[in-house]
Assembly symmetry: C2
Homo-oligomer: 412 residues x 2
């Protein structure tokens, strides 16, 4: 008999019919003898509806404390509906808001962090044979103010509850049946991974694989909560995300290939190569609230250097303006930019113990005559920036080069 | 500087625009130097929407505890929106759910009764110059379960808060500008009352004047909370409901004329006039969950008697069936019934000190050739049942006979 925390997102509980399906699924687990805690989000669309109302009532930004009072009602409706649907099926169940559990958070409204979870009530209910249905995304601060964890916070609630209850597994139900070696829309031979490590998942997530909220993966990694990504309405084992880094003959070097087209590249050329120049360039960019992703500085040449970085495409115009001012100030030669770029990354803990992974990547791209514009590496990841039009070609070439196309693949 | 509790119902907060108007009104009171606690209902339509969802999720009746979890979100949204609208206007404000206040109730979900209100937080906020916005209709039981007070419970929340805070007045904002001597749609000369006593208001309310929830009037009377009925969006003094029974030359004997067409009459004729026969007749009716209003038993004649009572029209068929069975059992002569009846009542504390009020009523009806079918009296009320088609005529005749038509009337 296992203790399982199951999290269902807004789409999975988007209608009463879907809530009935979720209840059916929970019932099956219960009948297998597992203890179940279910975490649910607001029905899809509900949070946006509430934000719209709040904007109408407020002048500009809604008061954060009051916005949380409103937003928390979304999940509150879902927990009641799911509990009703469970009881209707003869499954004893009880619902709790974040306040009722009590999920204690700090007082940072709209983006609160969980400090502590009281597991007393939940354990008593589980012991009494009840399924416990908890509102995701919300908590309460020490003064009794309602708080929310920010978008995607329901995943975090699920993981935090699993950690507090020392659950055997935290299952995150989504609209995909697991984590893939890469996007199957780009590479039809992409494979569902049986297993992936927290670290790899974090890199995949931050590189554009939107299966899980980064924060919940971090949280799961920190408390070593086995996390499983599954499809809400299709059967299947999904993908297990764990600490494990088992080595074996079959262990692939690369777990997956992530990519995104959301970035744009900016280069400031011929800046004097003096100490502090990086800060002089990036300081004003960051002051303009623009986030910088990759940064590359070439070696100096004639006492000047070229400095390149990427930003989100939405920030491209703003960043370019900031950079033009900086260029004038520093007496740099010119500012050039390009939005038609794409970032492709190979991710895998296997890199740690295998040399030559990066060169194998570069070789595969070279074979396809794809020029690499920027390179950035971390311990378990190599990212390159290439021309956008080569994106699909690059991903497919790498998928084959790292032997991810194999028809069947076992992670352990 | 007064402390005022203001309650706004679902229609008054039915849209964000209306909530803005309410905020504007509250701001004016605040600028007059009054301390304000506002109680709000769910936006109109919201409670029904939630009940509909709950029915879809449940087989028959939604689980009461979970229904309360859902329903309480309606007011929770409104308190946040109104608080945002106040803060937008520069009025410091803070919202509280029933749980946050803490409005302690018993555990009778869907129809809980308020046991105790913690006024600590509210007093601190008022002292700090904040308007306090409280969710009506909801509370929390000793175990932390969310409860609701049942339909119309927001009025009760307002009165209970006013009692707990010893407020100078509890203002109930509605879609009428006060309590009238009778329904102005029937008698265009009907006058708004400046004042009315709790007792009179209770009789008026129970007789079909739907301005206030009976329960909130009882509550206000019990704790002697001055209650004022006002129009949400029109200026005017409304009607004050108090304990006062000031006597003066102008004091009218009758405060108002109430009526309803919701009842039907049933008579069982020729029942043996023996002890316990009333119970034998009404016991089965009450066992069938049918509420009985007026009851009249004529004096016995030839050892048999006639027994007449009224029920809600919706219960007429069911009551008739029950009665047929009883008639067979008791060997009664026959069961006859009539749904085309109306009840008209005159209400006023002045009756206590004035003789002949009833006969003045009967005289006025006789003058119009209206036959009286049943009569029932209480200390401050005389009710008669007449043929439905004479209802308007009867109300107008009585309104004139008791000098309620006067163009201007002061209650004190």
């Amino acid at each position: 008999m296992a203790l399982i925390v199951q999290k269902f997102g807004g789409t999975s509980v988007g209608t009463v019919e879907r809530i009935q399906q979720v209840a059916e699924k929970v019932k099956k687990f219960r009948e297998n003898g597992d203890d179940i805690v279910v975490v649910v989000s607001a029905m899809s669309g509900e949070t946006n509806r509430l934000i719209e109302l709040a904007k109408q009532a407020s002048d500009e930004q809604p008061v954060p404390r009051e916005l949380d009072v409103m937003l928390s009602t979304g999940e509150q409706v879902t927990i009641a509906l799911l509990t009703m649907a469970l009881i209707r099926r003869g499954v004893p169940a009880v619902s709790y808001t974040g306040n009722q559990v009590r999920i204690l958070t700090d007082s940072a409204h709209n983006k609160a962090r969980i400090l502590q979870i009281d597991d007393q009530k939940l354990r008593a209910d589980l012991k009494a044979g009840r399924v416990v249905v908890v509102a995701g995304f919300q908590g309460v601060d020490e003064h009794g103010n309602i708080t929310t964890l920010g978008r995607g916070g329901s995943d975090t609630t699920g993981v935090a509850l699993a950690a507090a209850l020392k659950a055997d597994e935290c299952q995150i139900y989504t609209d995909v049946d697991g984590v893939y070696t890469t996007d199957p829309r780009v590479v039809p031979q992409a494979q569902r991974l049986e297993k992936i490590t927290f670290e790899e998942m974090l890199e995949m997530a931050s590189l554009g694989s939107k299966v899980l909220q980064i924060r919940s993966v971090e949280f799961a990694g920190k408390y070593n909560v086995p996390l499983r990504v599954l499809h809400s309405f299709k059967e299947g084992p999904g993908t297990l995300i764990t600490l494990d880094e088992e080595e074996s003959m079959e262990q692939p070097i690369i777990s997956g290939i992530a990519f995104n087209r959301d970035e744009a590249k900016l280069t400031i050329r011929g800046v004097p190569d003096i100490p502090g120049v990086a800060f002089k360039i990036l300081g004003p960019v960051s002051a303009a609230n623009i986030e910088v992703d990759m940064i590359v500085q070439n070696v100096a040449h004639d006492n000047t250097t070229d400095f390149t970085f990427t930003v989100h495409r939405n920030d491209y115009q703003a960043a370019q303006q900031v950079l033009e001012d900086t260029a004038r100030e520093l007496g740099a030669r010119e500012v050039i930019g390009d939005i038609k770029i794409a970032k492709v990354s190979i991710v895998g803990v296997g890199m740690r113990s295998h040399a030559g992974v990066a060169s194998r990547m570069f070789e595969a791209l070279a074979k396809e005559n794809i020029n690499i514009q920027m390179i950035s590496t971390s311990e378990i990841k190599v990212s390159v920036v290439i021309e956008e039009k080569y994106l699909e070609l690059a991903v497919r070439a790498l998928h084959t080069a790292f032997e991810l196309d194999a028809p069947a693949r076992q992670g352990d």
